[in-house]
């Protein structure tokens, strides 16, 4: 069964460093999302992507964050100058339009720990 793959599964970085989180979506999906979940808290939307463009982004997704599709298939989420409060589980999701709604499938997540 096709699945969304994220790497690395766990990343530890020093405060102020840049990290790149990677995602391989399900092929032929056209909708892509990044979410994060601080431990024990709710799932927060970061950004959505459609047709190679950002379609929506949250207040969290400020200049510190960027998303790219470097090779036309994989996605990356770059976090510049990481802060302690960026420590969270970051989920990538890809989705397909069902005719009435978008069914999204989530990757296993990257646990980011900023020290």
């Amino acid at each position: 069964e096709p699945e969304v793959t994220q790497t690395p599964s766990h990343q530890v970085t020093q405060m102020g460093q840049e990290v790149i989180l990677r995602c391989v979506p399900i092929s032929n999906h056209l909708y892509f999302y990044w979410y994060r979940q601080i431990l024990g808290q709710k799932v927060e939307f970061l950004v959505s992507f459609y047709n190679n463009e950002i379609s929506e982004k949250s207040e969290i997704f400020d200049d510190q964050f960027s998303v790219e599709r470097p090779d036309g298939s994989n996605f990356t989420l770059k976090i510049r100058s990481t802060k302690l409060e960026d420590s969270a589980m970051y989920f990538c999701a890809s989705g397909s339009w069902t005719g009435m709604g978008t069914e999204a499938f989530f990757g296993q997540g990257t646990r980011l720990t900023v020290v």
Partner: protein, 109 residues
């Protein structure tokens, strides 16, 4: 901003019992999803509800959607330990999913 609220936040129930988790949302939408999350794991898609009155069942779980009341329910029948997890509802609006606060379910023998 769209608000999605779930209750209860925490639920401890005995095996064999029935219970319902509620998901209320603050704006018109007819696209609602339920996900399951095990500790430290990803979000597993359970149900996709795309119209008013939609009802879907899988095993001991049944989900329904009332778009007029802006309410979805996840009903658990004869709970078993394997159902212990956190359950999230999510409302699709625009180009994102708005997640509820989650309901942490513990099924005890």
């Amino acid at each position: 901003e769209l608000k999605v609220e779930q209750n209860p936040l925490f639920l401890s129930m005995q095996e064999g019992k029935n219970y319902t988790i509620y998901c209320n949302y603050s704006t018109t939408s007819d696209r609602l999803y339920w996900y399951r999350q095990d500790p430290g794991k990803s979000l597993e898609s359970l149900f996709v509800l795309l119209s008013n009155g939609a009802v879907k069942q899988e095993g001991r779980l049944m989900a329904s959607l009332d778009t007029k009341a802006r309410l979805s329910t996840l009903h658990i029948t004869a709970a078993v330990h394997d159902l212990s997890a956190t359950y999230f509802c999510a409302v699709e609006s625009g180009n994102q999913f708005y997640f509820g606060t989650g309901t942490s379910l513990t099924v005890i023998p």
